[in-house]
Symmetry: C2
Subunit: 238 residues, 2 copies
Amino acid sequence: MTETPGFRPLYQQVRDMFVRRIADRSWPPGEALPSEQALAAELGVSQGTVRKALDSLATENLVERRQGKGTFITEVTPARSLFKFFRIARPGGERLTPTSEEAATKRRRATRPERKALKLAGNEYVVEITRVRHVDGAPAIRETIAVPAKRFAGLDKRPIPNTIYALYQSDYGINVLSANEELRAVAAGPDDAKALGVAARTPLLEITRTAFDIDGRPIEWRRSRCDTRNLVYAVTLR
Amino acid sequence: MTETPGFRPLYQQVRDMFVRRIADRSWPPGEALPSEQALAAELGVSQGTVRKALDSLATENLVERRQGKGTFITEVTPARSLFKFFRIARPGGERLTPTSEEAATKRRRATRPERKALKLAGNEYVVEITRVRHVDGAPAIRETIAVPAKRFAGLDKRPIPNTIYALYQSDYGINVLSANEELRAVAAGPDDAKALGVAARTPLLEITRTAFDIDGRPIEWRRSRCDTRNLVYAVTLR
DNA sequence: AAGTGGTCTAGACCACCGA
DNA sequence: CGGTGGTCTAGACCACTTT
């Protein structure tokens, strides 16, 4: 076997196998994995190879390692899911906890940008969630969320919690792992002005997000408009 | 020796030593490091320990590893320094290469936000660079850059290239490794409107950046205002 | 004390690069 | 071909957690 083309390191093959088990929930969130030794024995590789695979999963936040205890499938707790993707902060960097109120849900056909972002066919349905989020008791963010109706059956007839990604995981078995956001400055329209309590034409920060699951499939499209007179969107570049 | 308090893994001590050598330029940018075997022999540790240290430097982009060739101190090339921190893109994600024109430099006392961000005393000087950056031939970004004058002697009497971080490295020995950015939406003032060719009060995306060197010291404060009618600021969240 | 992940070592072999 | 980093193994010991 001198063939080089299809070469793939052992630890990556092991890694792929673990990802599959997590994705199909044979290892459900919060569960402790077998020990490295046990996994190594099961797969017939060395402990070091299992470790390399688990380390790479840990850097992606798919698992958590706790010395002396074991390795655990990452669970989406409300606090974590909030801070992982919520980039709004006070100028200077202080973290914020928004509240969510007035959420309204609806089932309707996808719009064009939603079809494109969510890779939906022409006449498919989405569940739309609209809400205003408050910071320090004042309205600050107005957002519209759209998810494919076929993967979120009944979501339109259910109360919406503040941290919606925990709901995706607990009730629909969907893990939001990554997201792309595009930011631009726009002028507040009449509806924005009323919802956020600002003058019409006030500059707002518009954030358009597409969120992806463990398999890289688009799960959610979201557009938020933020009053950034007292808030900022904070980014760390490395 | 049952003491646990001052425990620090060997590979991290090795890593720290390498960082020091890079920071004080005993290993200048672009240079190939000794091989892992040679470093291991020099330090009296195993090759695996050296490897772990180098791997961690590689994930921070302090060094680059090239299989079959060696490990090299990362050099700030114009293209790289541009794309590492330049987050403006076309809607949909396509990368952009801006040009920079009309750069003007000035030496003056630091303003209050600059003193705070750059940790300067009350009456210290900065070099200010103002310029308008173009995309597709049209003005798109107006920015003001301030750096501590004492670390950038003569910068105010020198032409400013498009990719300024390559200049920081080559002429001042300063590596910009990370940066914080805060974004908000603002209304274009008269100067913005004129420089960018937009109507007054047009919503602009304002980006305030503080950049840091290898030792975590603030190196640069920068404020950019972008016309986002045809552009976006793109972020990937993991 | 027992079990987990974390560190460290030593050595073998593989893939990649350039002469 | 020789030298580099990349992978894989096997085993020892350390630090952390729970029993």
